[in-house]
């Protein structure tokens, strides 16, 4: 499988989107080369606006643009988009329910060497708590690009999370269709369901293969839309497999695990084991080593699944 970062899908997706939405405007905060809006900027320089290192103002500017009916994306690292600009996103974008799309790259621990100040493991929790907000976390390059393109006719504030690290492309671009709010069953299974999101989907798929060899039939579901979450697919999994494991490159507080847990608790209580960053800060190091260290890898998913099933 070819490896490519989801942020590349973001940049390419913006170019594809501009073809169907000529009113598109893209904002960045001095990180175009890293967020990959540079790809868009090269093709559409007159539609790309650098706001400088001023994320709060950028989000407000995006809100103002959206009031005039144009489609606008505001880009930065997850830390500065969801973190620094949180209150502007809440009060200037979500409260007036404006059609602003936030492209947040370099999410999670896989930022790597930059260390804890840049490894945002709290953005999903922050964003999903705000009324009117949609939260999308694509798993590979193809899904990322398709998700951005799907914004052509998806109204409302949307937070889109992308990664820095190149990860396997497992979707087929020629056939893949992105549907907001729909979980995707990648592999059916009856013993346990593993819900994964973002970069963890590929790890979960690898884990499923290893589990299969050990006689465990795991269902693998990709939750690319964390809000609104696909309640039906969760309830069905809870009823049919009885045990659930969630895997995300995000804090175990408030992310995918919490979102899945909320549904399970209300509709069909079964054990939910949450794999994620366990309420700690990260530190510098190569992304892949960090993912291993924090247990966000196929090996640990296998180990946790076996332990959960008592095998």
């Amino acid at each position: 499988m070819e490896n490519k970062a989801t942020r590349e899908g973001y940049g390419e997706g913006l170019c594809a989107l501009a073809e169907v939405r000529p009113d598109l405007m893209v904002l960045d905060a001095d990180l175009a080369a890293a967020t990959k809006t540079s790809i868009f900027k090269k093709k559409y320089p007159e539609k790309h606006f650098d706001c400088g290192i001023a994320e709060a103002n950028m989000m407000g500017v995006a809100a103002g643009i959206a009031t005039t009916g144009k489609l606008v994306f505001a880009s930065s690292f997850a830390m500065f988009a969801a973190g620094r600009a949180f209150e502007i996103i809440r009060n200037s974008i979500c409260y007036p329910n404006l059609n602003v799309k936030i492209g947040a790259t370099h999410a999670g621990i896989s930022v790597g060497e930059d260390g804890a100040t840049h490894q945002c493991n709290e953005d999903i929790a922050l964003m999903r708590a705000i009324p009117n907000m949609t939260v999308i976390n694509p798993a590979d390059y193809v899904e990322a690009k398709a998700a951005v393109l799907a914004m052509a006719d998806y109204e409302g504030p949307t937070y889109m999370r992308f990664g820095r690290l190149a990860v396997p492309i497992y979707n087929d671009e020629s056939t893949y269709k992105f549907e907001v709010g729909k979980g995707i069953t990648i592999k059916d299974g009856k013993d346990v369901t593993i819900f994964a999101t973002g970069l963890m989907v590929a790890e979960a798929m690898e884990a499923a293969n290893a589990l299969h060899e050990q006689g465990i039939d795991a269902r693998i579901i990709n939750i690319h839309t964390i809000k609104p979450i696909d309640r039906d697919i969760i309830v069905k999994a809870a009823k049919e497999t009885g045990k659930i494991i969630t895997v995300e490159e995000h804090s175990v507080i408030g992310g995918l695990g919490s979102a899945v847990g909320d549904v399970v608790l209300e509709e069909c209580p079964v054990p939910v084991i949450k794999l994620g960053i366990k309420d700690v800060f990260g530190h510098s190091g190569p992304a892949k080593d960090l993912l291993k260290e924090y247990g966000l890898c196929a090996e640990n998913i296998v180990a946790v699944t076996k332990a959960t099933l008592g095998k």
Binding site: C51, A56, N57, T67, T68, K70, I88, P96
Partner: protein, 279 residues
């Protein structure tokens, strides 16, 4: 300015002030001081400057006004009522359950162009509107009203840099410099002075005026129309609580409602003043 026009503006502003006081008294909460200080400005803008149509509040070609100092909502609502967006009588629903007149401006209310209230944010949205107009060559203008305490927010200066960088000459910011904020004098809480020189250093065209002189107001906005490739800021010296004797320049009246007795005093003062003008 023509004396007849000026007199009509004074009459309209008095009606706006009565609306403000009635709304806040009825709500038993709100911000009279900073509403009264910008009542003249908003009356002038909505009767003489801003191109809006109450019958078509979402007209894409309308001028925009962002009430960045969102706690001045009663002044905005009363000015919108004066302009015909809704009846002045509706001021009495201010801050009540089910009312369109929320404690701070809500974009869903007819005539309100942006939800505001968290200080420092409105000016950024105004920049976005002005940039959008530039991109699609739309002729509309964008006005943003800020408090002098509000400009202590860092986001205001991010926006100031942005507006100047993108040469937003379709944007006019007005600083309601009434000199007071919740904790006291702005000069003592955290001095923003010199406001004019700061904006000048950020690349803005700056005009200083008396915020209760309609003639100066008209000259300033006419001058702003002639400025190219730069945003304009009008630093407007004003009196907090203007028009109600016991509220003028008293910090306590930043964010509390008059009781029944105080309300009677305020309303009779304003109504007597209005009657004098209408003689």
């Amino acid at each position: 300015m023509d004396k007849t026009i000026e007199k009509q503006l004074m009459i309209d502003a008095a009606k706006v002030r009565i609306g403000i006081i009635e709304g806040i008294h009825e709500a038993k909460a709100g911000h009279p001081g900073g509403s009264l200080s910008c009542a003249d400005l908003l009356t002038y803008l909505y009767t003489h400057r801003i191109n809006v149509d109450p019958q078509n509040p979402d007209d894409p070609n309308r001028d925009r006004l962002v009430m960045s100092k969102g706690h001045g909502a009663p002044a905005l609502y009363a000015a919108l009522a004066l302009r015909g967006f809704f009846p002045m009588e509706e001021m009495k629903t201010l801050r009540k359950i089910g009312s369109r007149l929320q404690g701070h401006p809500d974009i869903k209310t007819p005539g309100v162009d942006m939800s505001t209230g968290s200080l420092g944010q409105g000016i950024s949205a105004a920049c976005g509107m002005a940039l959008s107009a530039k991109v699609s060559c739309d002729p509309y203008k964008v006005y943003a009203v800020l408090g002098d305490g509000e400009i202590q927010e860092g986001e205001v200066w991010e926006a100031a840099m942005f507006a100047s960088h993108y040469q937003l000459d379709n944007l006019v910011a007005i600083i309601d410099n009434n000199g007071l904020q919740i904790d006291g004098k702005v000069s003592e809480v955290m001095s923003p002075y010199p406001i004019d020189e700061k904006f000048e250093a950020f690349g803005w065209h700056v005009i200083n005026i008396n915020g209760h002189d309609f003639g100066e107001m008209e000259k300033a906005f006419n001058e702003a129309e002639t400025v190219i490739q730069k945003p304009t800021v009008i630093v407007m010296r004003s009196t907090k609580g203007k028009g109600v004797s016991y509220m003028e320049n008293v910090v306590d009246w930043h964010g509390k409602a008059p009781n029944d007795e105080q309300y009677e005093t305020a309303i009779s003062e304003l109504k007597a003043y209005l009657a004098e003008l209408e003689k």
